[in-house]
Symmetry: C2
Subunit: 234 residues, 2 copies
C-alpha cells in the first residue's frame, strides 16, 4: 500500500509540471540556491522553469505546508530555509522515531526486505573500500527506506521519509566528505543483526544511537559548510 503511493508520487513528480517545480524549489532551498529570507515571486520562478503561475502556486502551497517557505497573504513567499537548529531538532526527533521504526520493523519485516537489507550492507562494504562515495550515500539512503517500509506504520513511514529528505542534502555531503560512511554502514549491520535476532529492544537502541552518532559526526566535521548557507542574522 505504501509502495503504491510512493509510485504514484514518483509518476506525479516526473510528469506533472507542479511536481517538477516542487522538487526543484525544494532542492534549491535545501542546497542553498534560494537563501533564507529570499522572496520567491511566482512569475519569476515560472519563467525560470518555463511554466505558468498555476503550477508554481501549487508547489508553493506544498512548500508552505512543509515549512520550507512562509507565505504572507497578498504579499509574497519567503524562504524559511533550514537552519542549524532545524537539523539538530530533526536529528533529535529522528533518533527517537528511527528507534521506534527499527523496533516495529523487527516485528514486521518480510524475508524479502531482510534480504535486500543484507545485500545493501554487503554492497556498501564494497563501495566503501573502493571509495565510491556517491553509491555509498545512495545505499545509506536505501537502507533507511527499507526500514521505513518495514515498520508497518504508514504514518511513521511518511514522517521519517520527510525528515530524511529534509536532511538529505546535509547528509550526502557528510558521507562523501568523511569516513563516516564506513562507520555508518557498520552501525547498519548491527541494526540488521538485531532485527534478524528478533531483538526489538536492541534494534531500537542501536537505531537510536545510530542517529546520535550521525549527528555528532556531522557537528564535528564542519556542520556549517555542509549546509551551504552563507549567512545567518543572529
Amino acid at each position: 500500500m505504501s509502495s503504491d503511493s510512493s509510485i504514484n508520487k514518483e509518476v506525479n513528480d516526473k510528469y506533472s509540471l507542479r511536481g517538477r517545480v516542487f522538487h526543484k524549489l525544494r532542492e534549491g532551498i535545501l542546497d542553498g540556491t534560494y537563501q533564507e529570507h529570499e522572496e520567491l515571486k511566482e512569475v519569476a520562478i515560472g519563467e525560470e522553469l518555463g511554466v505558468s503561475r498555476t503550477p508554481v502556486r501549487e508547489a508553493f502551497r506544498q512548500l508552505e505546508l512543509e515549512g520550507l517557505i512562509q507565505m504572507i497573504p497578498n504579499k509574497g513567499a519567503y524562504v524559511t530555509g533550514i537552519t542549524d537548529e532545524d537539523v539538530r531538532d530533526i536529528y533529535q526527533m529522528r533518533s527517537l522515531l528511527e528507534g521506534l521504526c527499527a523496533r516495529l520493523a523487527t516485528e514486521h519485516i518480510t524475508e524479502e526486505r531482510l534480504e535486500e537489507m543484507e545485500e545493501n550492507i554487503y554492497l556498501s562494504e564494497f563501495h566503501a573500500t573502493k571509495g565510491h562515495y556517491n553509491q555509498l550515500a545512495e545505499l545509506d539512503n536505501r537502507f533507511h527506506e527499507i526500514l521505513y517500509e518495514s515498520c508497518n506504520s504508514k504514518m511513521l513511514e511518511h514522517t521519517l521519509r520527510d525528515f530524511h529528505q529534509y536532511v538529505w542534502q546535509v547528509r550526502k555531503k557528510n558521507l562523501t566528505n568523511t569516513m563516516r560512511g564506513q562507520a555508518s554502514n557498520h552501525e547498519h549491520k548491527l541494526i540488521m543483526e538485531a532485527i534478524k535476532e528478533k531483538d526489538a529492544a536492541k534494534a531500537e537502541r542501536l537505531a537510536n544511537e545510530h542517529m546520535i552518532n550521525a549527528y555528532q559526526n556531522m557537528k564535528n566535521h564542519g556542520f556549517e559548510e555542509a549546509l551551504n548557507h552563507t549567512k545567518k542574522e543572529k
Copy 2:
C-alpha cells in the same frame, strides 16, 4: 517567531478561500463527512463551497502532502482518511515526541507561559467539576499548544501540532464522552509540576505516559465510534 507563523496561518486560513477550503475538507475527512476512498471532484467541491477550481486545487495539494487524500494524475483525488492504525501510530509517535517536547520545554519555557499553563490547569479543574466538556477539550488543546511553543524547536513544534490536529476530532469526542478529561488534567498538572521543579527527565516520562494513557483510554471507551468511519474493507 513561531507565533508569527501561526498568526499568519490564522489570517491566511480565515481570509483566503484556499485556506477555508483546506480546513473545510480536512475537517470533513477527519470527521467522516468524506469517507475513505471517496472521490473528490474539483468542480463539485468548488460549487459546494462557492468557489472556483483554483483554490480547491491548491487545497488538494496540501491535503495530498498531509496524506489525507491521494491524487492519481489525470484521474482524481481520493480520500485516504484516517484509520484506527493511523491513530495508533500517531499516539505511538506522539508519546515519544511529547516526551521530548516536555523535556525541552523544561529548559526553555518562559515565566509567562508557565503562568498560562497554571491558569489553564486551574480553569480545567473548574470546568471539569461543572461538566463543561467543550471548554475542557479546548483547554486540553491549549495545554499542549503551550508545551509546543515552549520547546524552542520549530520542527518539533510543527510536527506535534500536525499530529495533534490530526487526532483532534477523535480526542474531542473522547474528552466529552468519558471521565478521561479529569484524569487528563491531573496528568497535565503533574507534567507542569515537573517542569516547575526543572526535572526534565521526569517531565519527559510523565508526558510519555500521558500519551499512552490517552490512547489506552480511547481504545477502552469505544475507539471505533469516536472515529465515525462506518466502513473498513479488511
